[in-house]
């Protein structure tokens, strides 16, 4: 435990269990994102799919929270509800005190695919948001140029998206979302489509970026390593219908880098997460067995 001696402030166990379902109103009065008893149901040809099942959670200003769970468990749907892209079937989502019924420019989103406007250069893609919000062209382009420098794509400012690699495109997508200076940044498996090497670089970039921007981040992934490396808190979701199983605080020191992935304290935390997920997975599997 050499690392620990360098940091006497670190608590003995990095893992701290918090109530799976935080008390909505009294316990966390100053939360920026508040999800209360949220259910989302989709009509499908053969009935209904419950994508999100009575989920409650709260995110504090400045926090970096990850949502982890098997695919199909409702992570994207939950995130879309925070973005105002999906309406609650029951319950409520509020961001900065206002209920989310439609997308809002103070909430940015990065999707798994970059979804850049193919007809716009990198610079104009990033300037799109500020322009849409009524900023002058000069002002919007100035914002874009600053962000382009920040993501290290200065040489590619006038390139069109299809000429860039996947990792570069995703960096542009992140910059584009940041151009409106959102208070909340939602990221839906943003590195999920990238190869392992690029993904590691992107994770380090995001950690650096986070120190410079002033946003609350909710990050969806099914990669435990990624979740622990990046987050202050990891929410583990059950296999569908999505509910929040556990709320884990990651008390590892910052600044972090991918070097942390071999830290014993980190490994202990990861083992706990994996155990939880494995038990849950088995439960889901047995349920399915029982049904069939």
């Amino acid at each position: 435990m050499v690392a620990m001696m360098h940091n006497p402030l670190r608590p003995t166990s990095p893992l701290r269990l918090v109530d799976a379902v935080p008390e909505p109103s009294s316990a966390v009065p100053e939360a920026i994102i508040r999800v209360e008893d949220l259910s989302i149901v989709f009509d499908v040809p053969r009935g209904e799919v419950i994508a999100v099942d009575r989920v409650s959670l709260a995110v504090m200003p400045g926090e970096f929270v990850s949502l982890v769970g098997p695919s199909g468990c409702g992570k994207s749907t939950l995130l879309n509800a925070m973005a105002g892209l999906e309406r609650p079937f029951e319950g409520e989502v509020t961001v900065a005190g206002k209920p989310m019924l439609a997308p809002r420019p103070d909430i940015g989103m990065v999707f798994q695919q970059p979804h850049l406007f193919p007809w716009k250069s990198v610079r104009r893609n990033i300037a799109h948001g500020p322009r849409a919000l009524g900023k002058s062209k000069t002002e919007a382009l100035r914002i874009a140029d600053d962000l382009i420098d920040m993501i290290g794509l200065t040489k590619f400012a006038s390139a069109y998206p299809h000429t860039l690699s996947g990792g570069m495109q995703q960096r542009v997508a992140i910059a584009r979302a940041l151009a409106n200076q959102p208070r909340v940044l939602l990221m839906d498996e943003p590195f999920g489509a990238l190869d392992a090497q690029t993904r590691a670089v992107m994770q380090d970039n995001l950690l650096e970026l986070r120190d410079r921007i002033n946003a609350t981040i909710v990050f969806v992934t099914h990669d435990i390593d990624e979740a622990i490396l990046l987050s202050d808190r990891v929410l583990i979701m059950s296999a569908g219908p999505g509910r929040i199983l556990r709320d884990l605080s990651v008390d590892l020191p910052r600044p972090r880098s991918s070097a942390i992935l071999t830290d014993p304290a980190y490994l202990a935390l990861k083992r706990d997460c994996l155990d939880l997920i494995r038990t849950e997975g088995r439960k889901a599997f047995e349920q399915m067995e029982a049904v069939t």
């Binding site: 892209l85 997308p103 989103m109």
Partner: protein
């Protein structure tokens, strides 16, 4: 061995270029020979030289430019009105379900009726006025462009729309930029088809009765048994639609500028 193969390939390439360059002159030459050899009736099949003289007369008489501008006016104005309407309605029906339910069934019923079949009713409605001719071209062009746009709009990447929504894109800009440009590759294909449709509806419009126009001139020449003039008119029409198609292809290539 490889150089031999290479030489053979370049020789074959040169030969095909040469044959290509000679194709039209050879055809004209053979036609001239046959027409002059009295194998065929020279009144019905005039030699190219006679056609050339007829065309020169046409130009000298001052009628050619009047005919050309009358036809060009009908084709371009009809094309512009029909495609603008088709694109606008295509964006709307592609984007708004209710509007699509209202209009799409109607359009799908009207679309397969060949525009030429509307000539009689157009004459009743518009007489021999320019409006009637424009109507036929507009009608012919509209449905093709509408359908291409409608389909294109529905194929616009939903992720792109969501990204634009998240960035605060206003409704208007969503339609005029994200949806329109997202559908542009499809629209361009529809427009290219519309170019040839506009020419064939032009033919119907001028045959139905006009006072000027290339096809009108062909019809008048036919009534006077001026077969040279008829063929000269056909050649002019062919050249015109060929140039229109080629220039549109060149424009279309640049229209989707980000590719």
């Amino acid at each position: 061995m490889s150089t031999g193969g290479h030489n053979r390939a370049t020789m074959a390439g040169r030969l095909s270029v040469l044959v290509g360059a000679l194709s039209v002159p050879a055809f004209v030459g053979v036609w001239e020979l046959i027409a002059r050899s009295r194998i065929v009736n020279a009144v019905l099949f005039p030699p190219p030289s006679t056609v050339a003289v007829a065309v020169l007369d046409w130009i000298h008489s001052g009628q050619f430019f009047g005919d050309l501008s009358a036809s060009l006016f009908r084709v371009t104005v009809g094309f512009l009105i029909g495609t603008t309407g088709g694109i606008m309605l295509g964006v709307l029906t592609g984007r708004f379900r209710l509007l699509s339910s209202l209009l799409s069934p109607l359009f799908h019923i009207l679309r397969p009726i060949p525009p030429i079949a509307f000539v009689p009713i157009v004459i009743l409605w518009f007489g021999l006025s320019e409006a009637g001719k424009l109507f036929l071209v507009v009608w012919g062009v509209f449905f093709t462009v509408w359908l291409a746009t409608h389909i294109g709009v529905q194929k616009v990447d939903r992720g792109l729309i969501r990204a634009a929504l998240m960035l605060g894109t206003p409704r208007r800009q969503m339609l005029s930029e994200i949806i329109l440009l997202g559908a542009l590759p499809y629209i361009v294909v529809g427009l290219r088809t519309a170019v040839s449709i506009s020419f064939y509806t032009l033919v119907a419009a001028e045959l139905a009765g006009a006072f000027a126009g290339i096809v009108y001139r062909i019809e008048i020449a036919q009534q006077n048994m001026q077969t040279g003039q008829v063929m000269g008119g056909l050649a002019a029409l062919g050249l015109l639609s060929f140039v229109a198609d080629r220039s549109f292809a060149a424009i279309a290539e640049r229209a989707v500028w980000w590719r």
